[in-house]
């Protein structure tokens, strides 16, 4: 590890291909220089691409409705069945009503993550602003839904009846804190994983400019890239499954 660190310093001194690993996360406007709220930026572009990818996968590939499905159609059917089963298992039978929302979240996150793995692309989900909006939407939905369905009985999720009476106020405090930390951890988990993984790939790409260790670092990039493909999927899955867990709290606040 230390030899690689000195290698990076050598590259910086020799003026090789040196770039900051966090440069890939800079939001740039597509046209011109100024950024206002309506400016189309690379974030807008890649979000649009991920929506196009979802449409291509879920709408175009299933439009033929072949009995013997094509490859694209079977991927779409697999994704649908996978998420449907997950919602049914985790949130229960009455959680299936909210399946479209969770499917939307999962497909958007998984497409954005996978598109972000293309070279020269931009990972929209690596920005906390993007994931925080999704996590806050889940948090507000779950809270409002919980109070709408159960009234003040929703507060039962903070008052654990199985615990001894002495412990309950302490547990209630811990539960309340953990409830309000949810949107933070929910959003930062996804953004942090995406950002860290892409930064690691770029760090090794910087080492690849040094001829002596280039084969090692290219092998490392390939290995980390494979890991990132896995992480991209798992993080989308985790986001969706945690949404289901929170939804279950809203539907059944009694432990």
């Amino acid at each position: 590890m230390s030899s690689e660190a000195t290698g990076a310093e050598h590259a910086a001194e020799e003026g090789g291909l040196v770039f900051h690993p966090m440069d890939q996360f800079i939001v740039k406007p597509l046209f011109g220089d100024t950024i206002a709220w309506y400016t189309p930026t690379n974030v807008t572009l890649w979000m649009g691409f991920s929506i196009l990818a979802i449409i291509a996968l879920l709408v175009l590939s299933t439009s033929k409705r072949a009995i013997v499905p094509s490859r694209a159609q079977s991927i779409a059917e697999l994704a649908y069945g996978f998420i449907y089963k997950m919602v049914e298992d985790v949130a229960g039978k009455d959680g299936v009503k909210y399946f479209p929302y969770i499917m939307t979240l999962f497909m958007f996150i998984v497409c954005a993550n996978f598109l972000g793995l293309l070279p020269m692309s931009f990972t929209t989900t690596s920005h906390i602003a993007v994931t925080a909006v999704m996590a806050m939407a889940v948090f507000l939905t779950v809270t409002i839904l919980g109070f709408y369905l159960n009234g003040f009985g929703f507060l039962n999720i903070f008052w654990i009846r199985q615990a001894p009476l002495v412990l309950r106020p302490i547990l209630a405090l811990i539960e309340i804190i953990s409830y309000f930390v949810r949107p933070i951890s929910h959003s930062i988990r996804l953004a942090g994983n995406m950002m860290a993984g892409h930064a690691v790939i770029k760090v090794f790409a910087g080492f690849a400019a040094i001829a002596a260790i280039a084969p090692v670092s290219i092998a490392a990039i390939s290995a980390i890239y494979a890991l990132e493909v896995l992480v991209s999927f798992i993080q989308a899955y985790v986001f969706a499954i945690l949404t289901c867990v929170y939804l279950k709290d809203a539907l059944h606040p009694h432990h």
Binding site: D89, S185, G192, V238, V245
Partner: protein
């Protein structure tokens, strides 16, 4: 000498915050290891518990991500 004591403290703190990732690694390894030992004892029950394992991984990983966040805040926000 360039920079100041505050910046030095921020950088040292950012480095120290990275030790939290080790804790998250222990936690995730514990969850998966126990899942695997349980799954090898009773393979027929393993499939139903994969989702629970991922929830456990997600919760323990979140705390490691918090340490990463603290490091980022110290590096760029303080």
């Amino acid at each position: 000498m360039e920079g100041d004591v505050v910046q030095m403290g921020a950088y040292i703190g950012a480095g120290l915050a990275c030790t939290g990732m080790g804790g998250a690694a222990v936690g995730v390894g514990h969850v998966v290891g126990n899942y695997l030992s349980g799954a090898l004892r009773n393979p027929s029950a393993a499939g139903g518990q994969t989702a629970t394992m991922f929830i456990g991984i997600a919760f323990s990983e979140a705390l490691g991500i918090f340490s990463f966040l603290v490091a980022l805040l110290l590096m760029f926000a303080v």
